[in-house]
Amino acid sequence: MKVVHEAEVDRDPAQVTRLWAASESFVLAPTRAGSGRSWLTHAIALVPESHGQRHFGLLTSGSAGDPKLVIGSRARAEALAEVIHERQDNDPARQTICLLPLSYSYAFVNQWVWSHRFGRRFVTTAGFSDPAGTRAALEAARDAMVCMVGAQVPLLLQLFPTATFPGVVRLHFAGARFPQERLEDLARAFPNAKVFNNYGCAEAMPRLTIRGAWEAPAAQDVGKALPGISVRARDDVLQFRSVYSATLVVENGVAHAIPGEEWIPTGDLGQVAADGTVLLTGRASEVYKRFGEKISLPQVQTAVQGVWKGHAALYRTTDEMGEGAHVLVLAPAPDDKELKGILALLRASFARPHWPLRIESVGTLPLLPNGKPDLRRLADTARRSTVHWAQRY
């Protein structure tokens, strides 16, 4: 199984086309794979021979934030691209502009596979790490389809407050909360674009539901399952079955084949209405996405506890932009040296989305009868807590 890193694809975008045409399966790895190459080598060794041809692999984060290799079938991905094309009425789009890392299953299937299947132009950019290049690509767009994550909207509006991109005819969102409350801003910036919300997960490779922005008033309404896909809720945990799903997942040193009849957890909490509409109610367990990155609160807490010997707990909140965030609470209060030690650890160990919005302290952590922190009470208590550090901007 061949491994290709995004940086190589950036230098030679046609490489993906050659990989897709060749029989040998391949893995498209992020340039900054947190997992490291040795982890990937080990994971690939666990992939059975049956997946050695006509498949592709992408890296994502597991439920506890650990790396996970997800393998999909190229034929399934192309079939899903056809369903997405139909549901999003993508036919008028003659090109797609990629503002996300190509190793995201969303960008890879919704954009690259789609462009390949329908013979449309695929335009690469460095996303918002190169605002001028991205703006130029959007301004040069002619009948373009663009995929974004909701967290990019504030960046877009901050960087290009008065710009309009009339050449974008389809604008899709996935990967985080749908920016329902920014639709007016988006309509101004993309006056000719039909906007769609996409919901799914890496194991779905990646799409489960799609809805037009105009079809529902609330972000948590993610629409109905696509043809060939079923979604249900069990104990408020969303599960799916899909004829397009990934075929194999390698996680925690184990390769797990996904049979077609298996119900697979999406990692989200939600409900399915009688008419099939899927309503998200939150993230399962303590893993959620911030700026498109999967955040594992246990992973952050474990790292913090490596340098902080007192009690620590994390609770979920939202930032000023409505994006999910988390707050670190310590007990008792840290001194200046301890606080600096925690900040140094955060910077050294995690990318910015993993940093807490604030570091607070309380005299004593409120606990549940089972001894775990009572996060609901903690969030309430936190209003009376001491703030030691906060992200200022």
Partner: protein, 80 residues
């Protein structure tokens, strides 16, 4: 240190989570892993709040270090 230098030091120390002694006025973007694309936006927002100057996207992306930032602000008659 004059007031503006201290404001800039404080802003970058906060955004980049710099520790004691890590901030330098010759610090470059390549010196700090945390100076990523989100930090570019955070710095632009911080500059606007701190110095009341709205950096363009091109200016923000072109900043390769503290010296570039100071040069942009000096162009707005902010003295360091």
């Amino acid at each position: 240190m004059n007031e503006n230098r201290e404001k800039l030091r404080s802003l970058l120390t906060d955004v980049l989570l710099l520790g004691d002694g890590e901030f330098r006025f010759d610090l470059k973007r390549t010196d700090v892993d945390a100076w990523d694309s989100l930090a570019v936006v955070s710095i632009a927002v911080g500059v606007e709040e701190t110095f009341q100057y709205h950096m363009s996207a091109e200016e923000a992306a072109a900043v390769q270090g503290v010296a570039d930032l100071m040069k942009i602000l000096e162009g707005q008659a902010i003295r360091f």
